[in-house]
């Protein structure tokens, strides 16, 4: 380590009046040294992103720094003018954002947008700018740099776009790199590549990296130092070894306790139970009609898929984006019409049923979606939304209300929530309400489509526990769709691994983890972050110190 690059001292950022707290960040002190990766960890609303934006002088206008210093290479960022900030940004300090899909301007080519960094900070001639840009594209391992150079953002995938943003950040060898949840929106194999790129950067360029994340496995993968934040305050900081293996603060312990373990210890026997759902050779093919000299094509979104689900069983469907897992679920529920195949529930074929009878068939199979914010109607009370399902199926309202009261208790909320509106609940609470709503019509099968992906880890853990409890109590069967193997490991009995529209592997979760058969499954498992870290047994540690 050759010295401190960034030193934040007693930083306090005020929130506009009327919020649930007065400071977004309070009295925060952190240092980042050369060649050091410092991870700032916390759940949503902890102030970790605000810290990174304050360092870049990119805070939204509504937020004001009320005290503290941010010393970068010897000068206080907070005392500089906007023009001085522009000189530093992209040059000495650079930032990578969470959402690669929207981080690039749709109107300009990727090459143009990378070159703009050189254009803004140097007087390099055009030819040299282009040569440097092509070299950067090679460095971030983009295939065919000249083609990518002339491409527009919408022609690239999310992972590729994130690499473009990284290329921009690296263009002028900044001494500080700030990455705000850089891999959260990406698939696990892409995440692994980008994390290894960070490690390489630390080694080859000696830059200090401040990485903001909510994922302890990512921390374990790359961090030298860890800062844990809760509600705008640093509750614990130390070396990665200290914080990961011997956490002191109760909140840190709670977060680490919520980290999904990689394997299940309690294998359940389900093979002898009766089948509730059988899917036979289900396929979905999209036809793209001919246009402007291009011949018509057929795209197989789902190749013949067959599996069955037994009573009380939880079957995980795991795959990365574009693997066909969403298509499978939608075809199964007839939200889209499958091209061929059968979906048997109770001896009836959903795939062939006439549209008019779908409503009654769907009663047996209910779904909980990914986004807890978008899937409740903001203008109707929770009670109204819960009873709607059963009332549609002819249950008297009073009786449905009685069941709603039971269910909100089961999902551990009070009866009074039935009179409230969705905006009065947090993401985790909303997801519990969505689960209650799905259970209102007493389905046999519950489909959870990335149902915990949008939640913070501690909330995620609670919702998973709740789902398992409800499943066992009501004898439900569950289809659990996720991109996250670690989450699947916590709740599933069996797992199906999908890749490119095809089921490549199926087996008991323990077996798939311990002895993966298909190369893709092996790749997926190898890409999981934090494998070198064995989550500590918290009960064996000395008592927590707040």
């Amino acid at each position: 380590m050759t010295g401190t690059i960034l030193s934040i001292e007693g930083l306090t950022v005020d929130l506009p009046k009327g919020g649930d707290r007065s400071h977004a960040v309070e009295n925060l002190s952190v240092t980042v040294g050369a060649g050091e990766i410092v991870c700032i960890v916390g759940e949503s609303g902890s102030g970790k992103s605000i810290t990174s934006f304050a360092t870049m002088a990119l805070l939204p206008r509504a937020l004001n720094v009320s005290s503290g210093r941010i010393v970068f290479e010897g000068q206080d960022i907070l005392k500089l003018s906007e023009a001085d900030h522009a000189r530093l940004r992209g040059n000495r300090m650079a930032m990578i954002f969470q959402e690669p899909m929207t981080a690039l301007n749709p109107c300009y080519t990727v090459g143009d947008q990378i070159e703009e960094v050189f254009l803004s900070h140097t007087d390099m001639p055009k030819a040299e700018r282009k040569a440097r840009t092509l070299a950067l594209l090679t460095e971030v391992r983009m295939p065919d740099p000249p083609r990518i150079y002339a491409s527009y953002p919408h022609q690239l995938s999310g992972g590729q776009r994130q690499r473009i943003v990284i290329a921009m950040a690296l263009a002028l060898d900044p001494s500080l790199l700030i990455a705000d949840e850089p891999t959260t929106a990406l698939d696990v194999t892409t995440q692994a590549q980008i994390l290894s790129m960070f490690r390489e950067l630390r080694r080859t360029r000696g830059a200090g990296i401040m990485l903001v994340t909510h994922d302890f496995d990512v921390v374990a993968e790359v961090a030298d130092k860890v800062v844990v934040m809760q509600r705008g305050v640093v509750v614990e900081q130390g070396t990665a070894d200290e914080v990961l293996n011997r956490p002191k603060h109760p909140y840190t312990r709670q977060l680490i306790d919520a980290v999904p373990r990689r394997a299940r210890d309690d294998a359940r026997e389900t093979a002898s139970r009766p089948e509730v759902l059988r899917v036979e050779e289900l396929t979905k093919t999209y036809r793209i009609p001919a246009s402007f000299g291009r011949a018509a094509r057929e795209v197989a979104a789902l190749r013949p898929a067959s599996f069955s689900l037994r009573e009380g069983e939880t079957l995980g469907i795991v795959g990365e984006s574009g693997s066909g897992k969403s298509t499978l679920v939608r075809a199964l529920l007839r939200l889209i019409d499958p091209t061929s195949g059968r979906v048997m529930i109770d001896g009836k074929d959903i795939a062939a049923a006439p549209k008019s009878s779908l409503r009654t068939l769907r009663r047996d199979i209910q779904i909980v979606f990914q986004d807890p914010y978008g899937s409740l109607n903001p203008r109707r009370t929770i009670g109204d939304q819960l009873v709607e399902g059963p009332v549609n199926f002819g249950v008297p309202r009073a009786q449905a209300m009685e069941r709603a009261r039971d269910l909100v208790r089961i999902v551990r909320l009070g009866e009074e929530v039935l009179q409230r509106y969705p905006n009065q609940f947090s993401g985790g609470q909303r997801q519990r309400l969505c689960i209650a709503r799905a259970l209102m019509v007493e389905p046999k099968i519950l489909v959870a489509d990335e149902a915990v992906s949008a939640l913070d880890v501690s909330v995620q853990k609670e919702v998973l526990r709740l789902l398992a409890e409800i499943r066992d109590r009501m004898g439900l069967s569950m289809l659990f769709i996720t991109h996250d193997l670690r989450v699947a490991a916590q709740i599933c009995d069996d797992v199906i691994v999908m890749s490119k529209g095809e089921i490549v592997e199926r087996g008991a979760i323990g077996r798939v983890f311990a002895d993966p058969q298909h190369p893709y499954t092996r790749e997926l498992l190898a890409a999981m972050p934090g494998q070198g870290w064995k989550v500590p047994d918290l009960s064996a540690l000395p008592p927590a110190v707040a």
Binding site: A83, A86, A94, N105, P106
Partner: protein
């Protein structure tokens, strides 16, 4: 696509003759005997089957021959060619005025929402939308032509004659362009890629003009095309107020005199302009936004 729309429009403008009643009766005038009507019907070919009449009319129209105006006793094409120039100049000036005023005002308003500039721009927009064109035109004439004597009140003899009509016509289109620019800029300035550009250290002015404006102006282009079409056909009021003898004024005359061939030709030409400008807007937008290119 555009060609198909143009063909449909030509059929509709042809059919207009029959929507207004029997054209032969209309031409013959009141108190005409059935013999005279029959003679006119034969003379103008109204006794032939409709598809034949349409194809005949279309074939002539494609060669620029729209027949003779019964009121002006002149070939329609000559009549229109004379007037179209004035209307075209006025339309181009009007839309340029609207864009040159509306877009910068929208950008300024978006840079500081709810500031004094934003409020002032909103005020101008509301006033522009509320004042009828003829009234605004008269005020300008009283002020600049009668009282100050700087500009002529009417006529198209020199460039001076176009100043006031341009302001009247352009001002009417300004508010919508300004509001759309403002809304687009506010949305774009809050987007992730603007944040990326700032994080790269791009200078604020370049962020505004290179990164933000290009994205924000895309819907404005489509709107301007619609308004341009509207100005060409709908400058009747402005042309009347300033006694500019343009195509709008001619349209008004031909409607009031029941001059069918002129009406037909004008409707067809206005519609074709409209289609042309919409097409031009699509081309321009595809150039601005690569996602719209196939």
């Amino acid at each position: 696509m555009a060609a198909l729309v143009a063909l449909t429009v030509s059929i509709i403008s042809f059919a207009l003759i029959y929507m207004a009643g029997d054209p032969a009766v209309a031409l013959a005038g009141e108190n005409a005997t059935p013999d005279v009507v029959a003679q006119i019907r034969a003379q103008y070919g109204y006794d032939r089957p409709l598809p034949v009449q349409y194809l005949d009319w279309l074939a002539h129209a494609l060669r620029g021959d729209f027949g003779t105006s019964p009121y002006f006793r002149l070939p329609v094409s000559e009549l229109i060619a004379d007037r179209l120039e004035v209307t075209m100049i006025l339309g181009v000036l009007g839309i340029s005025f609207a864009l040159l005023v509306g877009v910068p005002m929208g950008v300024l308003a978006a840079m500081r929402p709810n500031s004094l500039i934003d409020r002032a721009a909103l005020f101008i927009a509301v006033v522009g939308q509320a004042i009828p064109s003829f009234w605004f035109g008269l005020i300008l004439i009283v002020l600049f032509a009668v009282n100050l004597g700087w500009l002529p009140a009417s006529g198209a003899d020199s460039w001076k004659g176009f100043v006031l009509p341009t302001i009247v016509l352009g001002y009417y289109a300004t508010p919508a362009i300004m509001r759309l620019t403002r809304a687009g800029m506010i949305e774009v300035l809050g987007s992730d890629y603007i944040r990326t550009a700032r994080a790269k250290g791009v200078k604020p002015r370049k962020i505004l003009f290179k990164h933000a404006l290009r994205n924000a102006v895309i819907p404005v282009v489509s709107l301007a095309a619609v308004q341009m079409g509207f100005m060409l056909g709908g400058s009747i009021v402005t042309e009347s107020v300033f006694a500019l003898h343009g195509a709008g004024y001619l349209a008004w005359q031909s409607i009031s005199r029941n001059d069918l061939p002129t009406m037909q030709a004008l409707i067809l030409i206005f519609s074709l302009f409209y289609i042309f400008f919409t097409f031009l807007a699509d081309v321009l937008n595809a150039w601005l936004d690569p996602r719209l290119r196939k």
